[in-house]
């Protein structure tokens, strides 16, 4: 059996507040995805479509953009609580996509709410490719 790379990274993260660059994180999701989809490469274009897609599983949280606005470079707002959310783009907030455990936690939460299921490794790789575009 293949040992999944990402859970290993996450384990390391949990123990030591291990940090990564967005690129390393995207690479580990890409590696995980390519086990299911041979030759998989993250795509900012697909990430953009995913980001704006209205899954409409939840009426008040139809899409990622419901809280993160239509651009990851922009300041968002929680659609239920109204709280300000700093941009997801690492060029705006340097700490984005640098803490694997934190990134996994929010993917799990937000994907479950918006899609009604967890996001796949491929979707995560695309999402990071899009959110880090131009950084």
């Amino acid at each position: 059996m293949n040992v999944p790379l990402l859970p290993m990274l996450l384990l390391a993260g949990a123990a030591t507040a291990w940090s990564a660059t967005p690129r390393e994180l995207a690479q580990s999701y890409t590696a995980e995805a390519s086990r299911l989809i041979p030759g998989f490469q993250g795509s900012a274009q697909r990430g953009a479509e995913f980001y704006a897609r209205r899954f409409a599983v939840s009426s008040h949280l139809p899409a990622c953009s419901a809280c993160h606005t239509d651009s990851p470079a922009r300041i968002g707002r929680h659609a239920v609580t109204g709280k300000t959310i700093q941009p997801l783009s690492p060029s705006a907030v340097a700490t984005r996509f640098s803490d694997p455990a934190k990134v996994e936690k929010w993917f799990r939460r937000n994907c479950t709410e918006v899609l009604g299921r967890e996001c796949s490794a491929a979707e995560k790789a695309d999402f990071i490719a899009f959110a880090t575009e131009g950084t």
């Binding site: 929680h78 659609a79 239920v80 609580t81 109204g82 709280k83 300000t84 939460r109």
Partner: protein, 157 residues
């Protein structure tokens, strides 16, 4: 000045008097409180709910006001202990809702009785639990009148 701030501290220590416009997070707040409970909304001042209420909140994080705020067990315990240490002892801080909302307490209703209905529903505020929607320094634990900006008018009260 010295005496004044000493009185203010004493006042807060005495389970929140009628007029409390400073509600900073207690100094012994674990970093996990801001990190885990301050992302979707303000990290609410622990003194605004009773111990019974906080136990209910911390005992049902998987069904958190329509959201899922689950934590690993050590972190959950650390935060629960912190909230219970600083929980309100006065009945007027008890939630009158299920799930418990600090915005349903007698104290909250009294402090906000002059706030027009339209302000709560303003799209910029969205929810009465969005303290920062009106209290511009809420993130810093400050609720002074001079810092309040009501959304409908965008004028100072």
């Amino acid at each position: 000045m010295k005496t004044l701030s000493w009185f203010a501290t004493l006042g807060l220590a005495m389970a929140l008097p009628a007029h409390a416009d400073r509600l900073p997070l207690p100094a012994d707040a674990p970093p996990s409180y801001q990190a885990e409970c301050g992302t979707c909304h303000l990290p609410y001042p622990p003194a605004l709910l009773t111990a019974t209420d906080w136990k209910r909140v911390m005992g049902a994080l998987d069904r958190h006001y329509g959201d899922n705020a689950t934590l690993d067990e050590p972190t959950r315990r650390e935060i629960a202990a912190f909230l219970l240490r600083h929980a309100a002892t006065h009945n007027s801080m008890a939630a009158n809702s299920n799930p418990p909302r600090l915005t349903s307490s007698e104290w909250f209703r009294r402090e906000h009785r002059r706030v027009p209905e339209s302000s709560w529903k303003d799209p910029d505020v969205k929810s009465s639990a969005n303290c920062g929607g009106c209290h511009t320094k809420a993130e810093a634990g400050s609720f002074r009148e001079s810092e309040i900006v009501l959304p409908t008018s965008r004028r100072r009260l």
